[in-house]
Structure formats: structure tokens, C-alpha cells
């Protein structure tokens, strides 16, 4: 399946809603739940979810949603998550990924981390488009969402009642970050620091975990870690 064919499948508004819902949950989603969220019947949702799986935008598996096992637990339900593969279309054909990888490789070999981070911070400041630092976590989330980071709020340390931190499901630089992690993740942190602004109510720091962006945002008042 070519990327352009896979992406074309998202043109259907119901499919698009279902896809966006599954992606935003960051976990396995059942058919009933997806149907309800998209406001369509279960059979229609199932049809579209399977189509999305068929073209490789989602992955499907089966799991007992009740959490029970053994006789009487019911048969496993079909669940969906976002496929890990990345799709991109560029018309006419352009290959920015190879350019990015070559530039990162050269920067890595030359040890240009500090220069790259300074450039990223300036770019972030430029993108902010205001002299004032970001006003709060909500505003920061809007800014991040607009840049494709897929932010969501979590209690810090996973502790209920912990101060909220904003984590990001998506790394916009994923492919290059996987090949040159310290360099590109450092660049990403600097970009976000510029975007949020220094000495404001929100700050960015590195808190990497598998499968997510390496940075979290939090209230600058929480000083403990």
C-alpha cells in the first residue's frame, strides 16, 4: 500500500473521526467505544476500523475488555491502536528525511550539539510570536497540539493527586530522533524551551520514556524532583 493510498482513506469524515479518536487515546480501543465516540453505529464503526487496519493506519488485536478470564468471561473483542509506521506524502517527490539524517549525522560527527540547540531555541522563540512566555499549561497544550506533539495531561509521577504535567504522545522528529537521540532530543527540548519561553509560569524538561516525546511541561512552581 502506497502512503498516498493509505492517507486517501482518511478522506472519509467518519473514518477520520474514528482514526483521530483511536490515536488520541494512546491505548487499545474497542469497537463499541470508538463507535460511541464517533457517533455512529457499531457495525459501521467496525467496517471503517477494519478498513483503516487494512491500509495499515491502525493495528488490530483481540483482548477481553472485561479484564476477566476463564469460562464466562466472554469472547475476546477486537481492539485497535495506531500503527507505528509513519506515512508522508510530498508532491512533487521530495526527500527531507534523508536530508535531515545527513545533516544530523554531520552535526553529530562534528559535535555541534550546542550550536544546534541554540538555533532550535531561537526558532522556538520565533515561532512563539509574542515577547511574553507562555501563560499556562492550557495555552502550552494548544501550542504543542498545533505543532503535532499530541499533548495530554497526566498526574506527575503517575501519582493520583500529583501536580499535573503535560506529556506528548508524538515526537514530530521521531525518525531522526531514533537515529541520533541525544542530538535530536536535545534539539527538541531547546525548541520547546524557546516555544514556551524562559522564566514564565510553564517550563519544559527532559523526562524520556518509551514510545513518547522525551519532554514534559509543568508548572514552574513545582521544583521537586
Amino acid at each position: 500500500m502506497k502512503d498516498i493510498d493509505a492517507i486517501a482513506v482518511l478522506q472519509d469524515p467518519v473514518r477520520r473521526r474514528l482514526y483521530e479518536y483511536v490515536v488520541a487515546q494512546g491505548r487499545e480501543v474497542g469497537r463499541n467505544e470508538a463507535a460511541e465516540a464517533a457517533g455512529v453505529a457499531r457495525t459501521l464503526a467496525a467496517h471503517h476500523l477494519d478498513k483503516l487496519t487494512q491500509v495499515g493506519l491502525l493495528e488490530s488485536g483481540s483482548r477481553r475488555l472485561t479484564g476477566r478470564s476463564g469460562p464466562g468471561a466472554g469472547r475476546p473483542a477486537k481492539v485497535y491502536t495506531r500503527a507505528r509506521v509513519e506515512r508522508s506524502v510530498s508532491l512533487p517527490a521530495r526527500d527531507y528525511r534523508t536530508a535531515a539524517e545527513l545533516l544530523a549525522e554531520a552535526a553529530e560527527q562534528a559535535g555541534l550539539d550546542a550550536v544546534l540547540c541554540a538555533a532550535a531555541r531561537r526558532r522556538g522563540e520565533g515561532l512563539r510570536g509574542s515577547a511574553a512566555p507562555c501563560g499556562g499549561l492550557e495555552e502550552a497544550m494548544e501550542t504543542l497540539a498545533a505543532r503535532g506533539y499530541e499533548p495530554h495531561v497526566e498526574a506527575s509521577g503517575g501519582v493520583e493527586g500529583g501536580a499535573p504535567v503535560v506529556r506528548m504522545r508524538n515526537c514530530p522528529f521521531h525518525a531522526v530522533a531514533e537515529r541520533f537521540p541525544p542530538l535530536v532530543c536535545g534539539m527538541n527540548l531547546a525548541l520547546l524551551e524557546g516555544l514556551i519561553g524562559a522564566d514564565g509560569p510553564v517550563r519544559a524538561r527532559m523526562d524520556a520514556r518509551p514510545g513518547e516525546c522525551c519532554v514534559v511541561l509543568e508548572d514552574s512552581k513545582n521544583n521537586e524532583h
Binding site: D113, P181, P182, G186, D207, A208, R209, C214
Partner: protein
């Protein structure tokens, strides 16, 4: 942590880092402060098997088998993914991000990966030989990097063929 022998083998990892300043220099303090928490995170990480520790110490920074100003980091993991997730998707990434503040940039390879039989703990000498192999011959099933990695099966197949040819 005890490890049952594992037919598929374990992934060993060595990296060397040349210090820009002596360990007791204030410029090294942020690095020194991160050692304990990051090592604790490694010990608790999924897929962690073993890491080199100096006798009577919490880490291997006092051992200088590759030179007076070179610290070594030698560890064993169940899978390449487990090592990658720890190295780049845990608190260890913050150390890596700031590496230029504390360590000289290496022109030659400074990190090497290789497969060992499950239950085998590599010696420092063995590890330095693998690094020398990588530096001399480039990535191979004997000594490779994340960018040019071999799975345990691929490495076993290649090395088996080499043995058979001999």
C-alpha cells in the same frame, strides 16, 4: 538478580568516555550527581541483566582500564530494544544530551555492542577487544552499533559460517 541461561544470548554493551575535567572538578558535579539515580534506573529497567561495578563502589567510574581520564560503562541486556529504551528513553537521555559538557568528542567509535551467551558476564579486557575490533574493521556480527545492528540469530548464523569455513 539471578539470570537463567538463555539460549538466544544477551546483548553486551561497552562505551568509553574521555573526561574533560577531573571527577572532583565542580564542572563535573551535575554528572556525578546523576550517577546514582541513573544507575538505579538501569538496575530496575526492563531487560537489564548486569553492569560492571568496581568492588566496594556503586559504579565503575573509578576503574580506568582504558586510560587515566577515560571512564568505561559495561553492561549486559536481554534485548537490544531493552538497552535502547534505557539509553535513550529514560533519565539516562538527559546525561547523553549534556555529554559535550563533560566528555571529549571521540573521533573513533566510543560504543560497541555484541552478543554473549546467556549467563556470561564479559570482562573489561574482552569488551575493549570488541571496541578495538569495531574500530579496526567496522561493524560486523562480532562488534556492532545501534545504527548497524545484528540480531542474535543473524550474528550466530554469520559467526557459525565463519567457524565452519575455518
Amino acid at each position: 538478580m539471578t539470570e537463567a541461561p538463555h539460549a538466544a544470548g544477551h546483548l553486551a554493551q561497552l562505551n568509553v568516555a574521555t573526561l574533560l575535567h577531573p571527577f572532583d572538578d565542580p564542572r563535573m558535579t551535575p554528572f556525578v550527581e546523576m550517577l546514582d539515580p541513573v544507575n538505579a534506573a538501569a538496575d530496575a529497567a526492563p531487560g537489564f541483566v548486569w553492569r560492571l561495578v568496581e568492588e566496594g563502589a556503586a559504579d565503575a567510574t573509578g576503574l580506568r582500564p582504558a586510560g587515566e581520564d577515560v571512564v568505561v560503562n559495561l553492561s549486559v541486556w536481554r534485548t537490544q530494544e531493552a538497552l535502547w529504551d534505557f539509553a535513550y528513553r529514560s533519565g539516562h537521555l538527559e546525561v547523553m544530551r549534556r555529554r559535550r559538557e563533560w566528555f571529549a568528542r571521540h573521533v573513533e567509535a566510543h560504543m560497541v555492542l555484541w552478543w554473549v551467551p546467556g549467563g556470561h558476564l564479559p570482562t573489561v579486557g574482552e569488551a575493549l577487544e570488541r571496541l578495538a575490533d569495531l574500530r579496526a574493521h567496522g561493524p560486523s556480527p562480532r562488534a556492532f552499533t545501534f545504527a548497524c545492528a545484528y540480531t542474535a540469530a543473524e550474528a550466530a548464523q554469520h559467526l557459525g559460517t565463519v567457524e565452519a569455513v575455518r
